[in-house]
Symmetry: C2
Subunit: 362 residues, 2 copies
């Protein structure tokens, strides 16, 4: 045997045995990640989605891939859940893309915009209409790979101390509302306020603010706002079907083995489906209790809805002119939404419409 | 060292090394299953859900758990997809629970009943309202463990050769429709017909039948029925949000390692979410094309809807009297549905209602 051959054979042998063991390590490595939730534990429906996600991943990998979940503020606050992933302070977060409209309004399109899509339509756009791909092209500028994580359905339109019937009634009203919805409300004469959830009740009680929006019946019930601002408006036209995301540091995502990527993707789809199911299961009882304890349901008037719709479209036209990323994603989003409602107005809406009226007869 | 100690030490050593290797085999064994789909490949949206499911499971297990998917008829036919799982001819199927109402009407409640729940409400009941648990208690009588697999949304109400405006127009009409919907239609004067999909077109063309129901725009388009029965009715009040299931042989399910169970459960939730997203993405374009090629959309009249609703409730009362399993599951289902519509009529419906009317203005 020539020395060269011997070396080669030995190298091959060594390589083969080296490969045999690390092959296991490579396909099922032990990994520890930290997930920073943008949600406090009190928002239990959506907070526990992150825990369910982590549990799926741990179980599917026989405990090899552990993702520890931290409630809002435990590592960084809700509004740092983008930067913390960009900078790899944490490997991932569970967050609301629209929290970051201050950096770029394009972020809103990952979550919801005023007069956007309902939950089913949003999922159709994200998974089947090119939405996920368009958003990830944008998110990659922030070193983020994102997966839809959960959704709330159509939210409520907030709590008001007094009835509002026309756009004129909104003039000068101080309302806790943020993001693009705040910009639209400003066009209608409202003065948006930034107030943490825990301070909403006393601010409404003292009259420091006139109105506040939060989520829907199940989450709103915990704030007890019906006692200080009993007029409970619907629909939340600025949140027709809000989607949350898992933001994952892109380098960390890219280095995962294929099996772990599949497990994470599947787990994200599980929590996206089942968090909506949880909200849908919990909201009816909460709505009953709220009305039973003084909440007075009021629909937004056609006058206000029309004005808000017009103001929203003006805002989108303006953003599309000044921001190429926004325009690219919004053009896809808007076209998809309009096609969806073409179809939803037929079978879906006709069925629901009949069932709503028939409900009391069963 | 005493002989006893030596034996013990050796045993421990042997046991330790024996355990070390099989531990891998136990937690990640090589498994091959066969999945018999109840769907032909032509129903591509739902058929490919089974393939996506199989792909998720294979990828998540690094190829160790392989599930081969067979189109309807390749091993057994669509209506044998329960027996084949009960008898372990195949380990699992992707099927429609309501296909088996001939064995027991309780099967219908796993899929959809006339005037049942829409997709979101059904998922809320299944995952969060005790639905999955109640159904699996029933399915276990057939050696089946079931997981929700996919859904279609509200289906269309079928194709008619002539317009039908009142219940009187339904008298003596021969319509391709099956299951509990067929029983309700019978109460309205219709004569239900059992015809395979491939024979619907010639039967309508020759006038052997007067009407036929299939699925929704995307699947219906392939049959070309607008050419022979142009009146396309909505909503499909007997399929407000049809759910399909993976039926798994219970003994086969029970013997899976925990990790594989989690992977299968998560994959089933993925396909349940994304199949609905696919239908929602594909139906609008198909509806446009159908209307462009002669389909004439017609809503079922209030007269027919009211009569069908009344007939359905009579049927459920009758079944609840004669069948304890049906009554147990239906009582939960009905109560949940009524609570859901209490909530959906507020934010969800008001939002969709506005967006449908606003669509043309964007």
């Amino acid at each position: 045997m020539k020395r060269r051959d011997f070396l080669t054979s030995a190298s091959v042998g060594a390589a083969a045995s080296t490969i045999a063991m690390p092959a296991i390590a490579q396909t099922a490595p032990e990994i520890r990640w930290r997930l920073q939730s943008a949600f406090p534990k009190t928002l239990d429906t959506v907070y526990t989605a992150g825990e369910a996600f982590s549990k799926y991943v741990a179980e599917a990998t026989d405990g090899k891939f552990q993702i520890q979940v931290f409630a809002a503020g435990e590592i960084v606050g809700s509004f740092q859940t983008l930067d913390a992933v960009t900078n790899n302070t944490v490997e991932m977060s569970h967050t609301v893309s629209s929290y970051f409209v201050g950096k770029d309004p394009t972020f809103a399109l990952g979550a919801i915009i005023p007069f956007g899509m309902n939950t089913r339509q949003m999922n159709a756009w994200l998974y089947e209409g090119g939405g996920n791909e368009l958003l990830n092209e944008f998110y990659s500028k922030y070193n983020v790979f994102a997966l839809p994580a959960s959704s709330t359905g159509t939210q409520m339109g907030g709590w008001f101390r007094k009835e509002i019937k026309t756009v004129a009634d909104l003039q000068g009203l101080k309302m806790r509302i943020a993001g693009l919805a705040g910009e639209v409300m400003t066009k209608l004469g409202v003065v948006p306020q930034q107030i943490p959830a825990g301070e909403i009740y006393p601010a409404l009680e003292r009259g420091t603010i006139d109105a506040a929006e939060w989520v829907g019946p199940y989450d709103d019930e915990k704030l007890g706002l019906q006692k200080v601002a009993p007029f409970y408006y619907y629909p939340g036209w600025w949140e027709g079907g809000t989607t949350h995301h898992y933001f994952i540091n892109k380098a960390k995502w890219d280095e995962l083995p294929k099996a772990y990527k599949t497990i994470i993707q599947s787990a994200s789809e599980s929590t996206n489906l089942k968090t909506q199911a949880k909200y849908d299961a919990r909201n009816p009882g909460a709505l009953r209790r709220l009305v039973g304890s003084g909440a007075q349901l009021r629909p937004y008037s056609q006058d206000i809805m029309d004005a808000a719709f017009k103001a929203s479209n003006e805002l989108y036209d303006s953003l599309s002119t000044s921001n190429a990323d926004f325009k690219k994603v919004y053009d896809s989003y808007r076209a998809f939404r309009n096609e969806e409602y073409l179809w939803f107005q037929v079978a879906e809406f006709a069925f629901d419409n009949f069932m709503i009226r028939a409900r009391s007869k069963t």
